[in-house]
């Protein structure tokens, strides 16, 4: 699934409680929060070892691995938790100290 770019409305300027919605509501989806900047360790896939079993895709808690013919990590959202590397049956994912 491709991430679509959406038109982002500028947030309203609030002056009084009367201007507020009933509760806090964002004007944009949370996908604008690029959480990849939180990362310390970066996953790197060794495609020679990868067998495209897609277990990493299944386990990624941030849904930032795409599953086409080979798994691909969207680093914009990857927080570097390392679950993909831990679950990989072929040890094809290494967590390295570098910003990707």
């Amino acid at each position: 699934m491709k991430r679509q770019k959406r038109h982002i409305k500028p947030s309203k300027r609030f002056k009084s409680h009367k201007d507020l919605p009933p509760m806090s509501v964002s004007s944009v989806p949370t996908s604008v929060n690029k959480t990849g900047g939180w990362r310390v360790l970066t996953p790197v896939i060794d495609y020679d070892k990868c067998i495209s079993c897609m277990i990493c895709w299944k386990f990624c808690p941030e849904i930032c691995i795409t599953a086409e013919d080979k798994p691909k990590i969207i680093l914009e959202y990857c927080k570097g938790c390392g679950i993909c590397a831990f679950e990989c049956p072929k040890k094809a994912i290494k967590m390295i100290e570098a910003k990707g």
Binding site: F14, L20, P22, S26, S27, P29, T30
Partner: protein, 382 residues
């Protein structure tokens, strides 16, 4: 159509008539029959709802929150320990302004392990932002659920409808169940301004700093004030459609009374009989039925009590370390008016102990003969 049904089934029939899109619940005595009946209606194809089975009451409320945020009318039912487990999610529902309707069967908190009537479970949820209604009989349970959706969706706040364990939950009474078409006419479709929508994705309930948090709380307080008006308005509309009128507070022979009782839940019927008996003995007794607890009907109380010499508040609940909970709240509501009665509090019937007409007569006598303290544990085995 009149049916002879328990309070639990009255709640289930009422929920069905409101056509909830989502019902999510976890079983707990004495509530289980409410959702059992609804599950049966869904399984038989009589009710088109998604019935979500969950692993706890916390999850049941979480599922209702998700469903309601997505624009679905949602329903659940619980009791006692189950309600306590929901506590965190109750705040989440109210602060998200989601008009979820929930039945709570008032059951005492353990230990000692118990299943019988006591209001301390729901009253302990006082500050969660939920509207709270207390029902006197099975007909009122059915009527209140239908009204609650209309009120809740108007003011964007959730509503909890409480009924006493066994006295109502498992006691059969004749209940007028209105035709579906009449309820459809009375209750418009749920169509919230903001909802989860995959075509317009938004995050709900995100971080707000001290700059605006305060204003969000004020808005809920305002919605509660609006609910006072809305409860009375919807109660009148309900009378037009179904012939039974409801309001925040319901006085009985209170106009000229110099001795007033205040009570809630099934105990109201007992006090009503005691008032009749006292009236026969030429005593000017009256009753204030506390139908709502949140929003608290302060203004209505202030209008009703100044003529009375004594006001006796009966509580099937206790705030340990203080007093009966309605007693404290009623005293607080009347604190700043000049002409007010002497106010007495009697906690009685905890854990489902019966409170009879004679007990209420004894309570009245103890006040008249100046034997009562300000706050009393009635019927304690000394």
């Amino acid at each position: 159509m009149k049916l002879v049904i328990t309070g639990n089934h009255a709640a289930a029939y009422a929920a069905k008539l409101c056509r909830p899109h989502v019902i999510s619940a976890y079983p707990i005595t004495p509530q289980t029959e409410v959702v059992e009946k609804l599950a049966c209606m869904v399984a038989d194809g009589e009710l088109k709802s998604d019935f979500i089975k969950v692993e706890s009451e916390h999850s049941a409320m979480a599922a209702c929150i998700g469903a309601s945020a997505a624009g679905s009318r949602s329903f659940t039912a619980t009791s006692s320990q189950g309600l306590a487990l929901m506590h965190e999610m109750l705040f989440w529902a109210a602060n998200s302004r989601l008009p979820i309707v929930m039945i709570n069967v008032n059951r005492a908190m353990a230990p000692p392990w118990t299943v019988w009537a006591d209001q301390t479970d729901s009253l302990a949820q006082r500050d969660t932002g939920w509207m709270q209604f207390y029902c006197e009989d099975n007909q009122e349970i059915l009527d209140t659920v239908i009204q609650a959706y209309k009120i809740a969706e108007k003011v964007s706040l959730p509503a909890m409808i409480s009924l006493d364990a066994f006295f109502l939950s498992h006691t059969s009474e004749a209940v007028d169940v209105p035709p579906q078409a009449d309820v459809d006419r009375f209750l418009p479709e749920f169509n919230p301004e903001y909802k989860l929508d995959i075509n317009n994705p938004r995050a709900f309930g995100g971080l707000v700093t001290a700059e605006w948090y305060y204003e969000f709380r004020y808005k809920i307080h305002q919605a509660m004030q609006d609910a006072k008006r809305e409860i009375n308005t919807v109660g009148k509309e309900y009378a037009k459609s179904f012939g039974r009128k409801y309001s925040l507070i319901e006085p009985y022979k209170a106009d000229d009374a110099d001795f007033l009782f205040a009570a809630s839940g099934s105990m109201v019927s007992v006090v009503r009989d005691a008032v009749d008996k006292l009236r026969k003995a030429q005593k000017k007794a009256g009753l204030i039925k506390m139908r709502t607890f949140r929003p608290f009907p302060k203004e209505e109380l202030i209008k009703l009590v100044p003529g009375a010499k004594n006001l006796c508040v009966l509580d099937r609940n206790i705030s340990l370390g203080n007093e009966g909970i309605f007693f404290t709240e009623i005293k607080a509501a009347l604190a700043n008016i000049k002409a007010k009665p002497m106010i007495y509090g009697f906690t009685a019937g905890l854990g489902g102990r019966e409170v009879s007409v004679n007990d209420v007569m004894n309570i009245a006598k103890s006040i008249e003969t100046h034997k009562a303290a300000e706050f009393n544990f009635y019927g304690l085995k000394k």
